[in-house]
Amino acid sequence: MIDMSPNVVLVVVVGVLVACGVYLLLERSLTRVLVGTVLLGNAVNLLVLVAGGAAGRPPITGLRPEGVTSDPLPQAMVLTAIVITLALTAFLLAMAYRSWQLHRHDEVQDDVEDRRIARLAAIDERAFTDTDTEAGGRTLAEEAAETHDETERGQP
């Protein structure tokens, strides 16, 4: 049976890292978001490591003296996750830099089209007009009356 009771220090560190990561992720500046994701990524890596159970000897067969080895699988997974986080950090950095190049700041912009639709809804007007929508100023009642006339033509 593997000792699965987690190391309290690691668990607390994971908690603190996640808290800081989430806080930074909610910021508007992309650089802070970037730092947030890095913290969050590291927190999760630690978490997966904790999930592998207590630490032990290197997981190499034939090592003397024999003892309880640590679980190599989470370590392999964390290694993969670290590489992925690195790549994403690089990409986010590039994006933050590009944003700074374009706007001289790296804040996440609002969606303009979304705002426009919301404004349109607030104004509550017809979005566009063309020849079909403009019926020459006559009301429906007038048109109906004209149509009605034709059927009554036969009467005195």
């Binding site: 593997i2 992720l25 978490l47 997966v48 994403l88 944003s99 996440v108 912009q109 089209e113």
Partner: protein
Amino acid sequence: MTDWAWLVPLPVLLPLAGAGLTLALYRRPRIQRVVSVAVLAVVLVVSAALVVLADDGPLVVDIGGWAAPVGIDLVADRLAALMLAVSSAVTLCVLVYSLAQGQTEGEESAPVSIYHPTYLVLAAGVADAFLSGDLFNLYVGFEILLVASYVLITLSGSAERIRAGTVYVVVALLSSVLFLVAIGGVYAATGTVNMAQLALRLPEVDPGVRLVLQVMLITAFAIKAAVFPLSAWLPDSYPTAPAPVTAVFAGLLTKVGVYAIIRTQSLLFPEGRLDDVLLWAALATMVVGILGAVAQDDVKRLLSFTLVSHIGYMVFGIALASDGGWTAAVYYVVHHITVQTALFLVVGLVERVGGTTSLDRLGGLARIAPVLAVLFFVPAMNLAGIPPLSGFLGKLGLLQAGVQDGSWLAWTLVVGSVVTSLLTLYALVKAWNKAFWQTPPQEVAPQRLPLGMVGPAAALVVLGLGLTVAAGPLFAYTERAAVALQDRARYVEAVLPDGLRGTGESVDVATEGTDG
């Protein structure tokens, strides 16, 4: 059957090798094109073969000869093979489309030299996610396709795309982090990330812990699949990308999320404790999504909202968790991939002819480009579910499954999906009328449409019609896939023949040493 197992890794390996090759050949765009098209064509043939082969039972490969629970395995069962075949058909069509776009509009608008390698990496990631029989490898597959999609969505780095890309990247990152946390939890609870072994071990885990794990996995996948209320990122980010990129994203990326939800719900957590929550989520996704679509007057955004809305149908089928539900959901996924991609490709052409995608400024295109009017109309009606097209058949299957279920919640969903279908029809007919029939606000000069762009778009439209013609066999196939989804023992046995280990070389080592 096992003789053909070597085919299984090819849909992942070939695009990755092709990506390397095209990156090395970045100075020779012509060879790049030939390589990409050849690679994706071969992948299409391979995955079509897999569809036939997987009908006899799942094909399993333990990668590198490492036996399954510790080593990574790829599994091609009916569902995975079917998804793979449809997605490779779509990726190939979109690639050909983007090549023609690049040739006629120059380097500026679409293919830059980085486009081909990234696109192939995306195809590899999608294939890896579909074939993975291992939760962590599924994560890796997701990351591969996401990283490729980050590059594609910010292609050329204009201000608008960087803005959209930021939202997209951060949300995708968040869902990946959630997924990874869930994997950590799953590993701590069961000591494995192999899906077949998880299917064996999860029932022994404490029900509370199991529910937490299920909720976390479903939440992570629901962000990727854009299920309401986790869908707001999609209509915000997709429309700004180049037309072919939007098309392939709309067709594939959300469906990978849906596929992951199907796998989680069928293989890992078959007791269905989240089904009611998922039904509500499906209803909200359908209705809120389509109401969003009705309000838009940009075609691309409108289609993005219908995309969100129709994810609801698939979740509806999944949450019913009955034979009929799974069958219809899988059929609907296949139908939706082709139709939604076709629509986005056609909108790319509309943008090319009309110079804009805003419905206020488009008009009278039916006279200038009648072919385009037909090409938009057919998949639009298909999406709305007009009989006898495949959208109607998929929705009919879902409605039948809902009625069979008989609970009041299922009936609510049945009503909700009919209303959504009507609103889809309204939104799309409005879009079609405005783009093709209304008096053009400004005169548009007629221009010849490049055959290389119309061809693939038309091919996808025809493929969508083909799904109607071949609905009988296809529905039979998805029904067998649905039965296979519920027959978990068969899947587990294919991966772990003796219930403990896969068929790799490390079996011998394991029997000698102690089993960790």
